[in-house]
Symmetry: C2
Subunit: 264 residues, 2 copies
């Protein structure tokens, strides 16, 4: 049984709380937040506190707070030599005060308060300073049915960058699709199956292989027609930039294939 | 029973062939392609031909060929007054030669030869010139368990534009995520669950509500750190443009909320 103190009350903290509560191998010793109100609705289920001085002893302290607060919170902790981790994709492990043993427990997923998450699908990126603590993080990930991945700080920050592209930027493209539909009174829901299939496809095919559409085919007539149809300058700029990017990705490859053929 | 002649042998034609074959209410009278070799492997299952002159009579002729070939193929058809449709998202219905009755049967989905499609999830956008043919297209869509949507040419072209954003451009962001992972020897597969969840989330939440991440939070430190981490100029330009786009989308809203509060 792993005993955990959870610190913070944002989206990640809330989803971790739910996942930990459902695990037979984890006991939540305490849930801390600097404002009690955010977690008071859980007071019947778990020991809650808004005072760092009242923190109880546990195997691990998980700081699921916003990036900017991690360093200060780790300094404010009133104990030493315990195991303290953060859950951020981009903050360095060494930003955690060294008076405690330090590590990272980064769930690579998008968390909204409103959306339920199947935690067993979430990869957990783990990192430790003292090797002897690695197993605890691996056990913790497995206790919520997640796949742990031991990675370096640089790899985690790179993954976080890639995640911004495939998650936040992708979602913004959905938003633009939504806006474009609205201008002509089309229900955005018609695009839902396409969006799901686009995401599903690359689960068993590389994005390079999965690409289709006018840019990939270098279909100039369709591209020209679509540029005329776009009403917002901002959408036009994004259309042009991503069309160029697709052409570049696929153009290089097709030149190579041609020159190989010539050699044969 | 609807009798169909299918023309073309690309991704859309092949997926339509499979879906039609599996339907009890559709009989494929013939499959035409200008080169016999592309469809000859189906010769045991269906009447195939590479000669327009040998086309048999059917309720509907579906031209699932590339955009640039639609007009010419419709001119080359050696009959008149039959029902001929194309399957393109962007070509005008009126590009089909008026010697026949014309329409559009546009399946709004991404088709790769390698990827199996659950056709019952595919929205079919239908359009006709002669009203009396609408029901046939609706029946055809329903015969492959698809949801038919009657839309105008302008709406279809707008949908196709939106589809380029949420499918082709999104897939290019996946590709960039893949490239970024490769530079640091990280398996792209770690991002698969995030990609699936991002797509799933907007099935029950607007993309506006679903947005998260550094741009939405206006987290300048993370944005600065990520821009430093990016190695390719092209990725940097896309990062900056989409970050600005997210800020704009959410900045306007937050200003509005503030001014509403002031009024109260």
């Amino acid at each position: 049984m792993i005993s955990v103190v959870l610190l913070g009350a944002g989206n990640v903290a809330t989803h971790l709380y739910k996942a930990f509560s459902n695990s037979e191998n984890i006991s939540i010793t305490q849930w801390y937040n600097r404002t009690r109100a955010s977690i008071s609705s859980y007071a019947n289920d778990v020991d809650i506190t808004d005072s760092l001085d009242k923190l109880k002893e546990a195997d691990i302290y998980i700081m699921a707070v916003s990036d900017d607060c991690i360093e200060q919170l780790s300094i404010d902790l009133p104990f030493t030599n315990r195991f303290v981790v953060h859950t951020s994709g981009s903050v360095a492990m060494h930003d955690i005060d060294k008076k405690n043993k330090i590590g990272v427990f980064y769930p690579l997923q998008t968390f909204s308060k409103e959306a339920e998450i199947d935690f067993s699908e979430v990869p957990i990126c783990v990192e430790v300073y003292e090797k002897e603590n690695l197993q605890l993080l691996i056990d913790l990930a497995k206790a919520v049915n997640c796949k742990p991945h031991k990675i370096t700080t640089e790899q985690r920050q790179t993954l976080h960058l890639a995640a911004v592209f495939v998650n936040n930027f992708t979602n913004q493209l959905y938003r633009i699709g939504h806006e474009i539909c609205e201008t002509k009174n089309i229900e955005f829901e018609i695009l839902h199956p396409l969006i799901e299939e686009t995401a599903k496809k690359i689960q068993h095919m590389s994005p390079f292989m999965a690409q289709t559409g006018p840019a990939k085919r270098n279909d100039k007539r369709t591209i020209k027609r679509q540029l005329k149809l776009i009403e917002k300058e901002e959408h036009e700029a994004i259309y042009k930039m991503l069309t160029t990017s697709i052409k570049k990705t696929h153009g290089i490859r097709s030149t190579r294939i041609k020159s190989q053929k010539k050699e044969n």
